[in-house]
Amino acid sequence: MSVPHRSAGDLPVTGDTIAIRCLLNGVETELEVDPGERLLDTLRYGLGLTGTKEGCAEGECGACTVLLDGLPVNSCLVLTFQVADRRVETVESLDEALLAPFLAGGATQCGACTPGVVMTATWLLANRDLLSSHRIRELMAGNLCRCTGYDGIVQSIERALGADERGDTE
């Protein structure tokens, strides 16, 4: 067993590193990572983007949700090298104004699920045609929340959809 190659110390230790480029939160970013490093860990420990959380490391809770080429994915199940030449958006990229309905609607309590919830919700709001085939509760089922009972989340999304329809952002 050897000593790790980085001071952050959270990272896997075997293999050679891989250099990649990706569009991270709108910024062209170059990264050099261990092949076994998860996107979640690169974001959190490598880049200090700690908004993305780990709740389970098994794809169940959605606290680690980011958008990959515009689709919500669990960053605990993506290796960083897999996002080479692709587009990644994390909670840090979101516009505060867009989030106002979530605050008012009781979508967050402890906040641990929240970054993931708002990422999936943002995607849903940007792809409202999904609602012709899917229900909000089905689309949000990959984001576990233990605090709200989901009503606050679902209603906030409904509210945001409605606000959009009326053309206001309140």
Partner: protein
């Protein structure tokens, strides 16, 4: 907003350069003597910080109620996963791999795993009978009342354990700053951590500073266990001289932290043919796990609530918490009351059925009216209209009409059965009996130079809205703009001990102290109680205008309301200063192809004194109901040797958004004079009702016993087939 944008910092979000990662090596066995701890020779262990029980400077116990639970096992283990050795290393990956390469060998002794069975002689590990705590409540002559009752109905009910599954797993960071050990982490009770570390580390309070970081949910799960993790992080940090992060992953969190006490509740109930309760003979047994921890207090709340919100002259409630070789069970939202209410409220339906009475009508006859007494002989006279609570819930679900519609539906649908179930209950807010007096909670409200105030309390925000509520209470009390009110981060070197953030006490008890500390500040400013707004802000600015002026702090200390009298010996008297009252109705549909149950409607009506913030209060109720629905239907355990086997979110099943119906919440308000703005606590209340309401609904749908939860499809299939077999024979 910081939570929505991801800027809020939880413990694992704290900058991580230059620190070590901790890991815990645990017992593989439920009980026995440790014969060896073997370190795999293929590894250079000099790279690691290694801590064992020998490194503990003080007394090897994580103190809360008793000194019985070691921080690190010293030669003997009492449950699987008991911590034995701690490791730290700069690489999280390496320390995880290394932990798997330390082997703890245990000479196995027969574990006690059944909390309902009388332990064999060789199994005794606490006192003479493994009883961690016994409580007896008696009112009237129970045997005589039972003998005289025209109808006596017996029942036996079981509840399973439950994991909190706060979305942020537990974790602590420790570092040494000069002479002070600093602990930062996810927790509900910063001063509990201090109290546990003082004897363990043989340091005084000045040498230990505990700071709560943003806490991603608690529900009771971060009440006692954080002291254990803090102790471990502290020991590693003190030995290495480096900052140490000890963050549990989900597997470890599920496997080792406390859970809800499993229970068995038995009822023998005497009634007359009008449905009047004549006798309630109740026995409660809780699985306490391997150490005392908080089991006595959980049991206390269970027995006090066991008789329910009903008037009955002859009551006996006998409660025991039993030692087993499971990881200790601990605090969880509801704190014993959900177990008691599952037994009681399921049983109330069973009794109603025997009487051929409508379940709601049966409860109506017995609901406590002002002037009547609870099981502990506490006279209720709070002016709250309990009948109105019941009637509001019945109206919201159109009880009578709906039961009739359901009857007709079920006649024509052999494979999809519906049911409507009710639970009526109450929940005492704050610590039991004289508990609040013992706590002697203190709150400070400090004036800030720009003309505002800072509220200083150790009560934590963990999603339930403490910060919002304290801000609102102080702002409204002093007439200040909420933007000028700050709430201090709980930091034991900055805030006074306002007690733990548990027992639904924060808004009611601590909030009330916030108001009084505001009043005290106003007095110190030389203002009358009528002074508000600009007058207060101006007086504050004037105070600080004087050169070298000291910080001005208003203070309030808890005083027991004069109406509360409690006898800890006989368990008689005013168990709580105030109760919240509630009636919940669940409608379910059971698919008889798959035996799975879906909650299709849920109504939650409660009287809570005063609603301080509609969004927060509604969210508390909905979240609690969701947890209750999970407990009732989904959250099942696979145990081996007293340890949880299904330690993943893929097989410990909590509800998703798609599993729950919208939860309809209504509040009734009758202000309580000793609560902040008239509020009573609500944090735990919503956990009490869903279990029995859902079981009653399932029983209504299928006619099955539904005496044990979770009502998993596998269990329902067995009950349903059993019923069919009985009907056939």
């Amino acid at each position: 907003m910081a939570k929505l944008t991801g800027r809020e910092l939880y413990v694992d979000d704290l900058p991580s350069a230059d620190h070590l990662w901790g890991a815990t090596v645990r017992s593989p066995s439920p009980r026995g003597r440790i014969t060896a701890v073997e370190f795999d020779p293929s590894i250079d262990w000099s790279e690691f910080v290694i801590v064992t029980a020998d490194d503990i400077p003080g007394r090897n116990a994580v103190f809360l109620m008793e000194y019985d639970q070691p921080a690190l096992a010293d030669g003997y283990v009492r449950h699987v996963h008991e911590p034995v050795v701690l490791l730290a290393h700069p690489s999280r990956d390496i320390v995880r791999r290394a932990a798997a390469l330390v082997t703890v060998r245990v000479e196995l002794e027969a574990p006690v795993l059944d909390f309902c069975a009388v332990p064999e002689a060789g199994g005794i590990q606490h006192g003479t009978d493994n009883v961690l705590k016994h409580i007896l409540i008696e009112k009237g002559d129970i045997e005589a009342a039972l003998a005289a009752a025209p109808i006596v109905v017996e029942g036996e009910y079981f509840t399973g354990s439950q994991e909190h599954v706060y979305l942020e797993t537990q974790g602590m960071r420790a570092h040494v700053d000069g002479d002070v050990l600093v602990i930062q982490g996810s927790m509900q009770c910063p001063y509990y951590v201090v109290k546990a570390l003082v004897p363990l580390l043989d340091r005084d309070e000045a040498g230990i500073r505990v700071i709560q970081t943003a806490t991603g949910g608690g529900f009771g799960g971060k009440e006692e266990y954080p002291s254990m993790i803090a102790a471990h992080a502290a020991l590693l940090s003190l030995k290495s001289g480096r900052p140490v992060k000890l963050i549990y992953d989900r597997w470890e969190d599920l496997a080792v932290t406390t859970k809800r006490h499993p229970s068995r509740v038995r009822h023998r109930t005497g009634v007359d043919s009008d449905g009047r309760l004549l006798a309630q003979d109740i026995e409660i047994v809780l699985d306490g796990g391997a150490y005392v921890t908080l089991s006595p207090v959980v049991l206390s709340r269970a027995v006090i609530h066991a008789g329910g919100p009903y008037a009955c002259d002859a009551v006996r409630i006998d409660g025991r918490a039993m030692l087993t070789n499971s990881a200790p069970f601990g605090a969880f939202r509801g704190f014993g009351a959900p177990q008691a209410f599952f037994g009681l409220e399921r049983h109330m339906d069973v009794v109603a059925a025997r009487l051929a009475m409508d379940p709601a009508a049966f409860r109506r006859v017995n609901l406590i009216r002002d002037g009547q007494q609870t099981g502990t002989s506490q006279t209720i006279s709070d002016g709250a209209d309990r009948l109105e609570v019941l009637d509001t819930a019945l109206a919201a679900c159109r009880w009578g009409t709906r039961r009739e519609q359901i009857r007709r539906h079920n006649e024509s649908h052999p494979l999809a059965k519906r049911g409507l179930g009710l639970a009526v209950f109450h929940h005492g807010a704050g610590f039991t009996g004289n508990g609040e007096v013992m706590l002697q909670s203190v709150v400070h409200v400090a004036a800030t130079p720009r003309g505002g105030v800072e509220v200083r309390a150790a009560s934590v925000e963990m999603g339930q809205g403490t910060t919002t509520i304290f801000t609102q209470l102080a702002a409204e009390r002093l007439g200040l703009d909420p933007d000028t009110v700050e709430v201090a981060q709980p930091d034991t070197h900055r805030v006074p001990d306002s007690g733990p953030s548990v027992a639904s006490r924060t808004a009611m008890v601590v909030g009330y102290l916030v108001e009084q500390a505001c009043d005290d500040l106003r007095r110190r400013l030389g203002l009358t109680d009528a002074a508000r707004g600009d007058a207060v802000a101006e007086a504050i600015r004037t105070w600080y205008a004087a050169p070298g002026q000291e910080e001005l702090v208003g203070e309030a200390t808890y005083l027991q309301p004069s109406h509360v009298e409690w006898d800890e010996e006989t368990y008689r008297g005013d168990a709580y200063g105030a109760f919240a009252w509630a009636a919940y109705v669940a409608e379910v549909e059971v698919d008889l192809k798959t035996y799975s149950t879906r909650v299709t409607d849920f109504v939650a009506v409660q009287e809570i004194g005063r609603v301080l913030n509609q969004t927060l209060a509604t969210g508390q109720i909905q979240g609690g109901v969701a947890q209750g629905i999970g407990w009732a239907l989904l959250e099942d355990f696979s145990w081996r040797d007293g340890a949880m086997q299904n330690c993943q979110l893929t097989n410990y099943i909590i509800p998703t958004s798609d599993d729950l119906p919208p939860i309809r919440v209504e509040f009734l308000e009758t202000p309580y004079s000793h609560g902040a703005q008239g509020a009573k606590g609500i944090g735990e209340l919503p956990m009490d009702g869903p279990g029995p309401a859902i079981a009653n609904a399932v029983a209504h749908a299928l006619g099955v016993p539904a005496v044990a939860i979770p009502l998993t499809p596998e269990r329902l299939m067995a009950e349903h087939d059993g019923l069919a077999a009985r009907e056939a024979s």
